[in-house]
């Protein structure tokens, strides 16, 4: 979904440089997830899925160099 969003805007050369699966226990150590949400996820998601919940990703992309490639501008 992330890649599609970036592509739809008009970026090219989209690369996921790093993708690592993150489970609930590790998720709790990221600041963007408050404790309340983490506890909700523990309840809402089957325990068998707790070790693979989200991806930590690094994405790179490039704005087209030529005006011809720039067809999706804001």
């Amino acid at each position: 979904m992330l890649t599609k969003k970036v592509l739809n805007v008009g970026f090219e050369a989209i690369v996921i440089e790093e993708r690592r699966s993150v489970g609930i226990d590790e998720l709790a150590h990221y600041p963007v997830f408050p404790e309340e949400l983490v506890e909700f996820l523990r309840r809402a998601i089957p325990e068998s899925r707790h070790d693979e919940l989200v991806w930590s990703v690094a994405l790179t992309a490039r704005k087209p160099s030529t005006p011809e490639g720039d067809t999706h501008g804001a």
Binding site: M1, L2, K5, V6, N8, V9, G10, F11, E17, E18, S21, V22, L27, A28, H29, Y30, P31, V32, F33, P34, E35, E36, L37, F40, L41, A44, I45, P46, R49, E52, L53, V54, W55, S56, V57, A58, L59, T60, A61, R62, K63, P64, S65, T66, P67, D70, H72, G73, A74
Partner: protein, 198 residues
């Protein structure tokens, strides 16, 4: 039970305000240079060159500059810069002939960032209070847009990417580190966590 998105967003903002005000308080999540070096692969030696005030409140989820540092003279935008660890690393790379525009929506991180700029005297850094969805940056003026663990918090992620596209020069690069949800999470749970991670 569905989550109250507005309340949780405020909770997240509150957490970041607390981190900015007291970065060494001890949180349930990781912060600071040791976390950045041990878990995210930042160079400990490079971080040691930055003031503690810059690195202590770091709370990113990856290293957007690992894919490539900006060049000397480049203009960089850091979306959701916080206290500015990535901002200052980018500033070192672009040098005095370049510019780093740090954008953050929270008063406390904006103020802390401005204090850090004054502390270091790095004139190539400009701090702006603003939104990721409406960057205070002119069109086609930027070589590199970076962001670290911020876009997942935006209520309009498409707009953040459109803004990034708008400000970049032709050939300019986008480098982000963030959290995204697995596709096969049960739909009931996904509807809630997608608020944060889609």
């Amino acid at each position: 039970m569905a989550l109250d998105a507005a309340r949780l967003r405020e909770e997240i903002s509150k957490v970041y305000r607390e981190v900015a005000g007291d970065p060494k308080k001890g949180y349930h999540f990781h912060t600071g240079p040791d976390y950045a070096a041990e878990r995210l692969g930042y160079s400990r030696a490079v971080l040691a060159e930055l003031p503690d005030a810059v690195t202590a409140a770091f709370a990113g989820v990856g290293n957007p500059l690992a894919a490539g540092a900006p060049r000397a003279g480049d203009t960089v935008v850091d979306i959701g810069a916080g206290s500015g660890m990535d901002t200052f690393l980018a500033a070192a790379a672009v040098g005095p002939t370049g510019k780093v525009i740090a954008v953050d929506m929270t008063d406390v991180m904006f103020e802390r960032g401005c204090d850090n700029v004054a502390l270091t005297g790095l004139r190539q850094i400009e701090y702006h209070k603003g939104w990721a969805e409406a960057l205070p940056v002119t069109d086609t003026s930027v070589d590199l847009v970076i962001s670290n663990g911020v876009i997942n918090l935006s209520p309009d992620k498409d707009r953040v990417f459109r803004e990034s596209f708008r400000v970049l020069k032709p050939g300019g690069r986008l480098q982000i580190a963030d959290i995204v949800v697995h596709r096969d999470i049960p739909s009931a749970a996904r509807e809630d966590i997608a608020i944060w991670t889609a």
